[in-house]
Amino acid sequence: MDIGGEHQIPAAREAVWRALNDADILRRAIPGCEELEKISDTEFNARITAKIGPVKARFKARIQLEDMDPPASYTLTGEGQGGVAGFAKGAAKVRLLDQGEGASVLKYEAEMRVGGKIAQVGSRLVRGAARKTAAGFFANFVAILGESAYGKP
C-alpha cells in the first residue's frame, strides 16, 4: 500500500532537518512510541504500541535512516516485531522543500507491509491505521517543532 502527504512547517529547512534526526523529537512525535534509543546517527531501537483494528500490540522496532541527502531528503525504514501479533515493516521517503522566510514543506511517500495476526484480521484496516499514524506523526512533529528550539528563528 502506498500513502503520502504533505505538510507546511513554519520552520527553516535546516532546522526541520535537524529535528528529523533528533531521537528525542522523533520519540515524542511517533504515535505510541514509549522508548527510542539512538544506536548511531542513522539507527534507532524503539518500543511502540500500536493498534490496528482489533489487534493491539507492542512492537520492538528497528528504525534506520538511509539515502541521506541533508537537508533535502532521507528514507526512513522501520521494522517492528509485535510478538504473537505479527510484524510490520515500512519505509517512508521524506523530502524537505525550502519555502524561504523560515518555512518549509515536508513531503512523504510511505509504504507499509504487515504480517501475522495483524495481516490476518486487520489487513483491511492497515491502510487507515498507517495513514492515521503518519498523519499523527507529522502533526506531532510540527507541534513539537513549534515549541522547541529548532522552530525558533
Binding site: G83, V84, G86, G115, G116, K117, A119, Q120, V121, S123
Partner: protein, 791 residues
C-alpha cells in the same frame, strides 16, 4: 423425499435423532468441555512469516514468567518423528513423490504463516498466552512463494531446500495417445481455463486436544477433535511418538463438525500427548479461531486447463485436463491422493467419454497444507466437467440439458468401465435428470426469465450432473494406488444377556447422526426395539478398530460392517436356537426378531437366545462358545457411486453484480436410504458449502504469503440470509455390492452445487447481453459486475 410422514424406526424411517436430546440441552461433551484435574494449558507461538529462517529462539523470559510450566521448541522435539502422510503417489516417470519432513515444531525454518515454532505450557490459559508473547524468535525472513506457476519455475524460491521447482509429483492417468487421436478427428473442441478456489473448512468447533499420561501404567491418552480416532492412534503412535497401541488411547468425543479438516493428524495432537508425559500434567490446547484459519488444512486450490472434443452430433469423444494442485508447505495426511485418485478418476462423470487423459502437478508453496475438504477432489473434477460441458453446449448451440442427455451412460451399460480406472456398478442418470428438470420446471424457465427481466434482473439457469466415488475404499485398490493403510471398517455387536445390544463402530459421528441411523439398521435387522440398541464410537479403548468418517463412507462401509456383524450374530443365534429347538441348524430361519423352525410354529425369541448364550445351562458347549458378541471387518468390493442432477436459478442485479439464488433443486441417487430426514439434512449442508464456494468463500494470500482472509470478517461464511430454501428429492438404484444397497450422501451437495451455480451465473450474463465464457469462483458482486462491464 417425504421426511415427515414415515413413522417406522427401522430402515427407511425418518426417526428423530437421539443425539439431539443432549445437544439441545447443552449436555454435549466436546473436547474443550473436558477438563482434567491439574491440567495445564498450551499455547503455540506461530510464525508470522510465510518463510523465514529461525536464527534463534529466546525462551528465557517466557520460562521465567508466572505460572509457566515449560517452553518447548524444536530443540526439545528433535526425537519426535515428523507428521506422516498416508498416501504415496508416483510420478509419470515412476519416481515416488517428494515427501519432505513435516516437523511438529519448525526446525530452523518456518514455511507458512501459522507454522508452530514454540509451545508454551502454563498453569492457566491466560498465563500461557502472556508467556507466549515473551518468546523472542529471531526470524530472518526469506522470499516466499505463493503462486503455483511461480513455484514451478526453476529459479523459484524453494519451500524445501532440497527440492528445486517445488514439485511434489507429476502424475498422469489415462491413454494420452487415444485422447490425442480423438482430438485430431473432432468436429468441435471446447477449451476452458479454470480455478478451483481455495477454501477454509471452518467447522464451527475449533480444534482442541488434551494429552494425559499415567506414569504408573505408562498409558497415554489423547482427547481430540477428530473424525477418526483410530487413524490418529495409528499415525501418532507408530510414526510420530513411537507409542505402541496398547499404551495409547485416543478419544474423540462429540465433535462439532469436521468436513474433512478433522481427519488429519495434526502436530498439536502429538505435542500435547508428548508434553503431558514431559511435564507430568495433563496438557490442554484449544485453537482460537484465528489459529484455525492458519493451522487447519485448507481445501481445493486447483488451477486447470481442460479441453473437450465433440463429434458433429455433440457426442463427447475425449477429454483432457492439466491441473496444478497446491499442497501448501507440507504434505497433510491425505493430501497427495486428493488431486489424483479422488479427482482424475472422476473425470468421466455421468458420461460416455471414450478417452480421457489427466495430468496433475502437485506443488509446494509457502501456505498452510491443503487436504481433503468436503468432496475432496470430486468437486474439483465435477467443476471442470460440468463447466466445460456447459460451455460446449453454449458454443454448439445445443441446450445444456440436451447435450448432457445425449452423452449419459445408459442404465443398460452398467457395470460401466470408465477410461479413468473406475467401474460404476449401477445408476440411472437419465431418471435423475428427468426428475430434476421436471421438479425445477426447467421447461418454464423462459417465462421466469422474462419476469425477472421485467423487474430489471438477469435470470439464469444452471445444471450440474455430478457423480462421486464414495464408500472409501477397497483396500486392495487403494493399496495399489499408494495408500499406506487399508480403508475397511470394523464393527462389534455385543448382545447383552437381557437382549439389549451395544454396537461398537469405528465410524465416528460429528453431525451425521450415526447414533440414530446405525441403531435403525441394527434394530431393523434384529427385529428388536430401536431403544434397545446403543451405538458407541469415538474411543479406541472401547471400539476394537476403525478407519473413521470421511468420503461419505459411514453408511456404505461402516454400516456394512455393522450389517455383517449382525449377520454373524444371527448365524450364531441360529446355532443356539437349533440346539434349543432340537432342529437342524439349516432348518432355522430368523424372522421378525425370532428364530423359527421353518414351516412350524416352534420358535425362540431373540431375548431367549441372548439369555441362553450367557446362561448356558442348556447349551451346545461342545460345539459353541457361550456369549453373543461378534466383530466384523468390512472391506468394500468397489466404491459406491452416488450421482444426481442439480438445477439452480439465479438472479443477477445488473447495477451491483450481486447474485441471488432464486431456487435450488437437487435430485440425488444415494441408493437405499436408512433415514431420509438425515439424508436430506446432509444434502442441505453440502449445498450450503457448495453455494458458499461458488458465491462467497475464498481464501486469499498476498504475494508475501500473508493470509488476508484470516477471520470471519474477511472469509465470507454462508449465513442464513445468503441461502435459499432447498428443494431436494431422490431416485433409487441400490448399490449392488454392499449389504444395505446404500451409497452415501455426505458430500453430494458440495460436489454438485458449484458448477450449477456458475453455469447459472454465466447463463444469466449471456442471456442479459453480456457474453462471457467463464467466471471463476467465488462469483462476488465485484467480479460479476466487472465481467458485465468488460463487454
Amino acid at each position: 423425499m417425504n421426511a415427515n410422514t414415515t413413522t417406522t424406526s427401522g430402515i427407511g424411517g425418518s426417526v428423530r435423532r437421539r443425539e439431539d436430546s443432549r445437544f439441545l440441552q447443552g449436555r454435549g461433551r466436546y473436547t474443550d468441555d473436558i477438563n482434567i484435574a491439574g491440567q495445564a494449558y498450551a499455547v503455540f507461538v506461530r510464525s508470522p512469516h510465510a518463510h523465514a529462517r529461525i536464527n534463534g529462539i529466546d525462551t528465557a523470559a517466557a520460562t521465567a514468567a508466572e505460572g509457566v510450566v515449560a517452553v518447548f521448541t524444536a530443540e526439545h522435539t528433535k526425537d519426535i518423528g515428523g507428521v506422516p502422510t498416508g498416501w504415496q503417489v508416483h510420478s509419470k516417470d515412476g519416481e515416488p513423490m517428494a515427501e519432505p519432513k513435516h516437523p511438529v515444531l519448525a526446525e530452523g525454518m518456518a514455511r507458512h504463516v501459522g507454522d508452530p515454532v514454540a509451545m508454551v505450557i502454563a498453569a492457566t490459559r491466560r498465563q500461557a498466552r502472556d508467556a507466549a508473547e515473551l518468546v523472542a524468535v529471531d526470524y530472518d525472513p526469506q522470499p516466499a512463494v505463493v503462486d503455483m506457476k511461480a513455484a514451478l519455475a526453476a529459479d523459484s524460491t524453494k519451500v524445501h531446500a532440497d527440492l528445486p521447482g517445488n514439485l511434489c509429483y507429476d502424475w498422469e492417468l489415462g491413454d494420452k495417445a487415444a485422447v490425442d487421436e480423438a482430438f485430431a478427428g473432432a468436429a468441435h473442441v471446447t477449451k476452458l481455463d479454470l480455478v478451483n478456489n481455495r477454501l477454509i473448512p471452518n467447522a464451527v468447533e475449533p480444534r482442541c486436544a488434551i494429552g494425559d499420561f499415567d506414569s504408573v501404567s505408562g498409558e497415554h491418552t489423547l482427547y481430540t477433535t477428530s473424525q477418526n480416532p483410530h487413524v490418529i492412534r495409528l499415525l501418532m503412535g507408530a510414526f510420530v511418538l513411537s507409542i505402541p497401541e496398547h499404551k495409547l488411547r485416543v478419544v474423540a468425543p462429540d465433535v462439532g463438525g469436521g468436513f474433512g479438516s478433522k481427519i488429519f493428524h495434526y502436530a498439536e495432537e502429538a505435542l500435547v500427548t508428548w508434553a503431558a508425559a514431559q511435564v507430568k500434567k495433563p496438557v490442554k490446547w484449544t485453537a482460537e479461531r484465528s489459529e484455525s484459519f492458519m493451522s487447519d488444512a485448507h481445501g481445493r486450490d486447483h488451477v486447470t486447463h481442460a479441453e473437450l472434443a465433440l463429434d458433429a452430433d455433440g457426442k463427447f469423444l475425449a477429454l483432457r485436463c492439466s491441473t496444478l494442485a497446491n499442497m501448501g508447505a507440507y504434505l497433510s495426511t491425505f493430501a497427495p491422493c486428493i488431486p489424483t485418485y479422488l479427482h482424475g478418476t472422476l473425470l468421466a462423470g455421468q458420461y460416455v467419454t471414450p478417452a480421457i487423459y489427466c495430468e496433475v502437478k502437485a506443488v509446494f508453496t509457502n501456505t498452510v497444507p491443503v487436504d481433503a475438504y468436503r468432496g475432496a477432489g470430486r468437486p474439483e473434477a465435477t467443476f471442470i466437467l460440468e463447466r466445460i460441458v456447459d460451455q460446449a453446449a453454449a458454443e454448439t448451440g445445443v441446450d445444456p440439458a440436451e447435450l448432457r442427455r445425449r452423452n449419459l451412460i445408459k442404465p443398460e451399460q452398467f457395470p460401466y468401465q470408465t477410461p479413468v480406472a473406475l467401474q460404476y456398478d449401477t445408476g440411472n442418470y437419465e431418471a435423475t435428470l428427468d426428475q430434476a428438470l421436471k421438479a425445477a420446471d426447467y421447461a418454464g424457465f423462459e417465462s421466469r426469465r422474462k419476469q425477472s427481466a421485467a423487474a430489471g434482473k438477469l435470470r439464469g439457469v444452471g445444471l450440474s450432473c455430478y457423480i462421486e466415488a464414495c464408500g472409501i475404499a477397497p483396500s486392495n485398490v487403494v493399496g495399489s494406488l499408494g495408500a499406506r493403510a487399508g480403508l475397511y471398517e470394523a464393527a462389534t455387536i455385543r448382545v447383552n444377556p437381557t437382549g439389549s445390544v451395544v454396537v461398537l463402530t469405528g465410524s465416528h459421528a460429528h453431525g451425521q447422526g450415526h447414533e440414530t441411523t446405525f441403531a435403525q439398521v441394527v434394530s431393523d435387522m434384529l427385529g428388536i426395539d430401536y431403544d434397545a440398541v446403543e451405538i458407541v464410537h469415538g474411543d479406541t479403548a472401547k471400539v476394537p478398530f476403525g478407519m473413521g468418517t470421511y468420503g461419505s463412507r459411514s453408511i456404505a462401509v461402516g454400516g456394512a460392517a455393522i450389517a455383517k456383524a449382525v449377520d454373524k450374530i444371527i448365524a450364531k443365534g441360529k446355532k443356539i436356537a437349533a440346539h434349543l429347538l432340537e432342529a437342524g441348524e439349516g432348518d432355522i430361519v430368523f424372522e421378525n426378531g425370532a428364530f423359527k423352525v421353518a414351516g412350524t410354529d416352534r420358535e425362540k425369541s431373540f431375548g431367549d437366545i441372548a439369555l441362553t448364550a450367557y446362561v448356558p445351562h442348556q447349551y451346545p458347549l461342545e460345539s459353541l462358545e457361550p456369549g453373543l458378541e461378534e466383530t466384523a471387518f468390512y472391506d468394500p468390493a468397489n466404491f459406491t457411486y452416488p450421482a444426481g442432477t442439480y438445477v439452480c436459478e439465479v438472479e443477477v442485479d445488473p447495477d451491483t453484480g450481486r447474485v441471488t439464488v432464486a431456487s435450488f433443486h437437487a435430485s440425488d441417487d444415494f441408493g437405499n436410504l436408512i433415514n431420509p430426514m438425515i439424508v436430506e439434512g446432509q444434502v442441505h449442508g453440502g449445498l450450503a458449502q457448495g453455494i458458499g464456494q461458488a458465491l462467497l468463500e475464498n481464501c486469499v494470500y498476498d504475494a508475501d504469503g500473508q493470509l488476508l482472509s484470516g477471520s470471519y470478517m474477511d472469509y465470507c461464511m454462508p449465513r442464513a440470509d445468503d441461502l435459499p430454501s432447498f428443494q431436494v428429492d431422490t431416485t433409487v438404484t441400490a448399490c449392488t455390492h454392499n449389504p444395505l444397497g446404500v451409497k452415501g450422501c455426505g458430500e453430494a451437495g458440495a460436489i454438485g452445487a458449484p458448477p450449477a451455480l456458475i453455469n447459472a451465473v454465466v447463463n444469466a450474463l449471456n442471456g442479459g447481453g453480456h457474453p462471457i465464457a467463464h467466471l471463476d469462483m467465488p462469483a462476488t458482486p465485484q467480479k460479476v459486475w466487472a465481467a458485465m462491464q468488460s463487454n
